[in-house]
């Protein structure tokens, strides 16, 4: 399962970095800064193109007091089967430069598919859509599930 994504520094507006206090998530790779969003962060977040602009949303649910599913990913078949229909999910794009799964960083062309649903306080929460891993992805990452990548097959 997707453990995190990285977005190059230049992809994120500076005011968003400051407003969302993302400085602690900045890393350097090959001399270039990037912002990393991990599922195992204390507060998991993801950048999302939502309501016409790039926003930073809560990634999935790890809170016991929240009634949303306790996960960061959801299977495509669950969405198609109507498993989220009662929450009226909205399809979104999670922009990413790289993704990481079980320690393997891979390139992401356009982004990852996600859905946004409201929590009990009507705050948007994003879940990453996943599907069964291709044989290639499975060997590369040892993961049985892969994120749904936009216009990209690994």
């Amino acid at each position: 399962m997707l453990a995190g994504i990285a977005l190059t520094w230049s992809e994120l507006p500076l005011d968003l970095i400051h407003a969302e206090n993302l400085a602690g998530r900045v890393h350097e790779r090959g001399g270039e800064r990037e912002v990393r969003f991990y599922w195992y962060d204390y507060t998991p977040l993801l950048p999302v193109w939502y309501e016409g602009k790039l926003r930073i949303l809560r990634w999935g649910n790890r809170r016991r007091d929240c009634r949303l599913p306790h996960t960061g990913c959801t299977r495509r078949t669950t969405i198609e089967g109507g498993g989220w229909a009662h929450l009226n999910p909205e399809r979104v794009r999670v922009p990413a430069t790289f993704g990481v799964d079980r320690g393997t960083w891979f390139t992401v062309k356009e982004g990852v598919e996600g859905i946004v649903v409201p929590d009990e306080r009507e705050q948007p929460v994003v879940y990453v859509v996943c599907e069964p891993a291709t044989e290639y992805y499975r060997l590369m990452t040892r993961s049985e599930w892969m994120p749904a990548l936009l216009h990209q097959t690994i």
């Binding site: 190059t8 790779r29 090959g30 001399g31 270039e32 430069t97 790289f98 320690g103 393997t104 960083w105 891979f106 390139t107 062309k109 291709t134 044989e135 290639y136 992805y137 499975r138 060997l139 590369m140 097959t153 690994i154």
Partner: protein, 405 residues
């Protein structure tokens, strides 16, 4: 005016090709993984600095370079860039050998004092037009030119036009670094004090010929500055075509083995059609987990590319190579004694079958329109998961027109 050979070699070609379309990879440790997604087939200089080697499994590479980014191979894209590179270098000489996906040899007539500038011009032109960094080496022969470019990597442009400079360079190379001299060949001349490439060119020619055959002798002559290996401007027709590879684990079940054999036969027929040839001989190679490889030949009355005839031949070939109960790791189907499809000799024993030919034509047309293997043999049904996997829709990285893999 003296004639020289220029060797143009892309730097970390697959990685550079990925960087052409993804600028985020520039300056970062990057590796391109092979067909199975398990092995590093190319790495950037940044990843090389961390100790990652070509051929290394990803789990080893990940330990050495946890920040490394892994990209999936895309041979179609590498082919596009390779042809663009060919176009870029074509403006520098009409005599070019398209040696491999990322290497070219050019024959040029220039004065010695023009060589360095010329090498730099080729390097800059390729980068300007294709955005792939290359290294250019110029010398009196192709074997020397290849060594010169090796010394100038990455992104270098260097000419070594005279004997004194050549000897200085050859003294720094182990003889095994000469393309064509591996460990086994080097061991044959080691007892005669041949350690470096310089020792090699100073060895007696008769000894070299005796120990390393005509191939070694040609290399010896080339390294001494005499051109004996000409540039091949046109690719000769293929002698044989094979399709096959790993069965992703092991296969014991005969149904599954048959499915792999038929899959590889259908891939082989695709390539026969592309090349416009028919197979005069058909063989199946089965590689067993225990290490042995067995070959079975299938009989063909006449050269053919017809699925039904080749299928019968494969059936016999598989039976001849199959050891019941022994796990198999690789299945290859090889077509040999290729002939041009047009003008081939017909056979009295093989009846023309307009019906089967029409079926084959429909299959080809449907697959061309809908997608590869949309129509395929029912024998491949045990591999349905493989056909449904979009990551498996690729073939061997054969870029048409080049000489070497």
């Amino acid at each position: 005016m003296p004639t020289f050979i220029a060797h143009v070699d892309a730097d970390s070609f697959y990685v550079s090709a990925e960087r052409v379309r993804n600028a985020a990879l520039v300056g970062k440790p990057v590796a391109v993984l092979g067909n199975q997604g398990a092995c590093v087939i190319a790495k950037s200089y940044e990843m090389k600095a961390k100790g990652v080697k070509t051929g290394e499994p990803i789990w080893e590479a990940r330990k050495k370079c946890p920040e490394g980014v892994y990209a999936k191979r895309d041979f179609e894209w590498y082919g596009v860039l390779s042809r663009r590179m060919l176009q870029a270098v074509q403006s520098f000489s009409p005599i070019i050998e398209y040696y491999s996906v990322d290497e070219f040899f050019l024959q040029v007539e220039l004065r010695e004092n023009q060589l360095d500038r010329f090498a730099a011009d080729i390097r800059d032109a390729v980068y300007d037009q294709v955005r792939v960094p290359v290294t250019v080496g110029i010398a009196r022969t192709r074997t020397l030119a290849k060594l010169v470019s090796d010394t100038a990597k990455p992104n270098g442009a260097k000419a070594i036009p005279d004997r004194a400079a050549e000897e200085k360079m050859l003294g720094r190379f182990a003889v095994t670094e000469v393309c064509g001299i591996g460990e086994k060949r080097a061991a044959r001349v080691a007892p005669y004090g041949v350690r470096t490439a310089l020792d090699f060119i100073r060895a007696d020619g008769r000894l070299v010929r005796e120990k390393l055959t005509i191939v070694g002798y040609e290399l010896w002559t080339e390294l001494r500055g005499e051109r004996v290996v000409p540039l091949r401007r046109f690719r000769a027709g293929k002698q044989s075509i094979s399709r096959g590879g790993s069965v992703k684990g092991t296969v014991v079940c005969p149904m599954l083995l048959w499915a792999w054999a038929v899959r590889n036969l259908e891939r082989l027929i695709e390539e026969l059609h592309y090349e416009g040839v028919v197979a005069g001989k058909l063989a199946v190679y089965l590689v067993y987990k225990a290490g042995q490889a067995l070959c079975g030949e299938g009989p063909l009355d006449a050269p053919s590319d017809r699925f039904d005839l080749l299928l019968d031949a494969v059936r016999v070939a598989v039976r001849r190579a199959w050891l019941p109960g022994a796990p198999i790791t690789h299945v290859h189907v090889v077509a040999d004694q290729l002939r041009r499809e047009r003008g081939r000799q017909l056979c009295l024993f093989t009846q023309p079958s307009p019906k089967l030919e029409a079926v084959a034509r429909v299959k080809r047309e449907v697959n061309a329109r809908i997608g590869r293997f949309a129509v395929r043999s029912g024998a491949t049904l045990p591999l349905s998961r493989l056909y449904q996997d979009p990551a498996e829709n690729f073939d061997v990285p054969d870029i048409k027109g080049k000489h070497c893999f």
